[in-house]
Symmetry: D2
Subunit: 327 residues, 4 copies
């Protein structure tokens, strides 16, 4: 029976902070007290330090194959990095290969993670091909795998995207079993047109990344999935919201008594799209989808956190490299 | 040179009404006067009558083949009926056959109408298959055929529906040449799912028509096409709006300085969905898409006319029968 | 019997324009025709000219005493100036003196106008002191004087302003007799505080005029009177709307099926608040209440006209001078 | 040094619940542990019980004189009752007498509470007469009395109500010293008119209470104070929100990045206005301002709690009786 005593730190909880000693036995908090009259195998003096619960990053992509690249971090290196920042749990995405089963995806992600990760982890299940076979898998994913968050993509047509009918039918299925729909909201058709238009015009500098994904692409898709979820009466979590226009759709939904769970990511709170307009290829470092937005959008995001309408700050961490550069 | 003198009627214009004599020469109004000191080949005494400009029905479907049925009226019988109600112009839809050209559709509709119609007529051009060939036809349709309204369907997937990319690219093309996008706004995917669900459950009574097309199907699609048009900077005309939820999207667009042209039809102003819930097959008489709505929606439509936000009242006239019953 | 024939002009109506001859007998349009075979006492060749109906300026202030100044134009000079611009009718405001009757105000304005004006004129009746006596005057003002528009001020506390109770009771009275409430919407309390704050700080340059009347003063009051009118079920006309924030309140009202009549003035469409920030006293030339706004507000106003949500463009004409400079 | 050990209870925190032993020394939690190896002066076995932090009722009125009545509970009886329900802290209102100082009110409330209350208590400071003297008291109330919440009434004209100017100036003052404005939002003028109208018509049954305070009275005032606070950049807490229409104003404010703290009360979540329409005088039992609303409003309130837009549930506890019936 292992034990650890952390003395004199300032404990920070969801609602409070206070000075206390914390005793951990077998990886569980066993006691919090003003002063503990206990001994432990190991004692740490946390005088002058904050003592937080471990952070949860609800949106990561370890070892993700994506458009000919790979996320460079493994579950080992990624969870190790996370631990260094105080994040003890990541929630990654087990992504279905079109034509294959959800089960296969979950198994694959377990192979990537199990025995390799050095922190806690859980999975969302990303549904890229919702059909009659997939439909039958839903209860097992929830009840046996303990995964109740089902991710869909409204962008990346022909690769990851589902259409509205697949989305709506998945929602109706999730309602039966207590699941939640989790969505990447960008209008894939609008994005695809703009990307190909710019490519055809030879406009391939990093700035065209943001120009090919204007806020309304995200706002439209956000509004649409909110409508679908309202009709299906399905709980909804929208990942990586970046802009005022999208937030406005979440806010409009409040008027019909609908709650939408909204996530943003640290980069959208701290960086802005001027980075895409730097000279040369420098802007490529911050190419991500959805792209960085404007100062006004940062203000709207911070306000939405303050208004309790954005409840999750994650990372969407995925540093992608070409195959030959994989760690 | 033909001439007609209508005496003593009460002339009604867009802004006024007054008693006057009206002289028509060669089918044009030649004079309006308190009292005309003229003679004509024919004189009508309109004492006690209103004298209107001819009505325009901006939404009709003569001889429309649709899901194995045909609109029962020809351009002859349809325009004759219209004239009896004071409607002297109809605007019909020349509907592209998928795989075929816009030109072919326009030619076909001219064949149906030319020499048969007894009133004035014009066409919207309905685009069901927007591709590189179709794209090239746009300027000619506008400049040679004088048709600047291009209709798209967001419902009837696999038959008439275009996807968002086709819609958006068509809009961008229309902007170049001064066209306007005209849209049937219903979320085809959501409708298709509900229709097949009810069919699978053996629910085929008329009431399931309205239950398979809830207001949010229309509101979502209306909001989406408004977003697409806003981004494309394309004028937009939404046909047959039926409900408060859709109107709310038009109203929301006003906040970003966007104007949307909205049409409703007489049936949505006068009838409500209780008709679908009559005994037996009686409700089938009012099966139309979108379906009739509730009293609150009628109130919202009348208010929107009063608020100047619905500017067009048309009919979407199309009384469909099986082929063997065609006139 | 006087007669006037205007030949060859281009007649412009609310919906159309066409070339025609127009015959006027006894100050009324007697005939409009492609070609009139008539003679008249006087004939004008309007070749190359537009022929409009006379304009109506629904918001003017002739000979208005205001805060120690006087509107410099009399009904004679003002209507003469109006005629030069094609405005043949002005609607002025007969303003009640607090403690005195509506009747007295109407009589006074008739004295100012009757026999002096050289164009047509009508009155709004401005209610600055709504009490039991005033209440009794309402039906007579409407039925005998033919004035159905009752103006109230939500600013100028202690001088012209009525409180919400007076406003609401007046509305309820107007509903009985078919009147309409017409309102100057600015939050008088907020304005007064800002004015006195700037005065106390010695900030008296023209720019402090606009800084003492921020858009939210107007938006708040607009929203409030819209709420009051909604509850009272009274038709509402808001004068001189200047900004996006106020228009947003009109637009929000459309969602509950309420119609608000909104007026803007030419100056708000054409000038902006940068004029207040000119050097010296130059900005004083455009001191008016509400003040000029920003470019974005001009865009919103033009869009609102296009959206049919602003239906009236007037002038609020009142060039005020000190008493000794009166014409 | 007193000590208390509570064993085996289920501890409920803001985010979690778990079984634990809790040791309390000198009225403070000294230790929380899975199993505490300690002894205490007193030990309670809480097996099968929940162990909560003490509740805070942020809105009570002990011994409040109001319109000729008195709140029947003293600080002793009221805090005792609160304790029985697990509420260990109440926040009462020290209400300024018009013409007197804030200091006097705070002193008076301390006299009522100090030495009598058997639970914890704090005060809001209710400002009914904001003038130059009151202005000077603000920093002392905050810094010396530790009261940073300043309550205003938008209803009860002539008794408690402040006008918009007093409200706005108070807000500006609070911003300087870190205060928050706390508001009873009802349009006093609209209410007063309706009350007197019903009285004049002899309509005095309990149902006329709710009819004299329609939702728009509350929504208008809520929207107005939100506007004032936005302009003043002052934090705002609106007490006892009851209805969908008011919540819509809070939600609209989110669009401009404004956060409003909204409170509702248990009675608005659990009871509805049908109680006013009972036979006889029964409805008088639930006469309160604002009044109970409809089922749809309850739904909107619960949803707003779920959406994190209503953050406070209080009681506005004040059971008023005639003076001679005081305890």
């Amino acid at each position: 029976m292992s034990s650890l005593l952390i003395r004199n730190g300032t404990v920070v909880t969801a609602t409070d902070h206070y000075r206390a000693d914390v005793l951990i036995r077998d990886e569980k908090v066993a006691a919090i007290a003003a002063s503990l009259d206990e001994s432990a195998e190991r004692t740490i003096d946390a005088e002058g330090c904050y003592l937080f619960p471990g952070g949860i990053d609800a949106h990561t992509h370890m070892e993700l194959p994506f458009m000919g690249t790979f996320a460079s971090d493994t579950f080992h290196s990624g969870t190790l990095a996370a631990l260094h920042g105080g994040t003890t749990t990541i929630v990654d995405f087990a992504i279905q290969t079109q034509g294959d089963s959800l089960e296969a995806a979950i198994q694959e992600w377990h192979r990537k993670a199990d025995g390799h990760a050095v922190g806690d982890y859980a999975f969302h299940c990303a549904v890229t091909d919702f059909n009659e076979e997939t439909r039958k898998e839903v209860p097992r994913v929830i009840n046996e795998h303990g995964i109740n968050s089902f991710k869909t993509f409204m962008a990346y047509k022909g690769a990851l995207m589902v259409d509205d009918r697949q989305m709506f039918e998945l929602m109706k299925e999730l309602v039966k079993y207590g699941g939640i729909i989790t969505t990447h909201a960008e209008n894939g058709d609008m994005v695809d047109h703009l990307v190909q238009k710019f490519l055809a015009e030879g406009k391939t500098e990093p700035r065209y990344h943001v120009l090919s994904r204007p806020p309304i692409c995200e706002a439209e898709a956000s509004g649409r999935v909110i409508d679908l979820a309202f009709q299906a009466e399905c709980p909804l979590y929208i990942v990586h919201m970046t802009c005022e226009e999208s937030l406005a759709r979440v806010k409009a939904a409040t008027l019909r008594n609908q709650k939408v769970h909204a996530e943003t990511c640290v980069q959208y709170l701290l960086l802005d799209d001027s980075l895409y307009f730097q000279d040369g290829f420098e802007g490529a470092k911050v190419v991500m989808s959805p792209p960085l937005r404007k100062k006004k959008d940062q203000e709207a995001l911070w306000a939405a956190i303050n208004q309790n309408l954005v409840q999750h700050v994650a990372t969407d961490y995925s540093l992608n490299v070409r195959s030959e550069e994989r760690r």
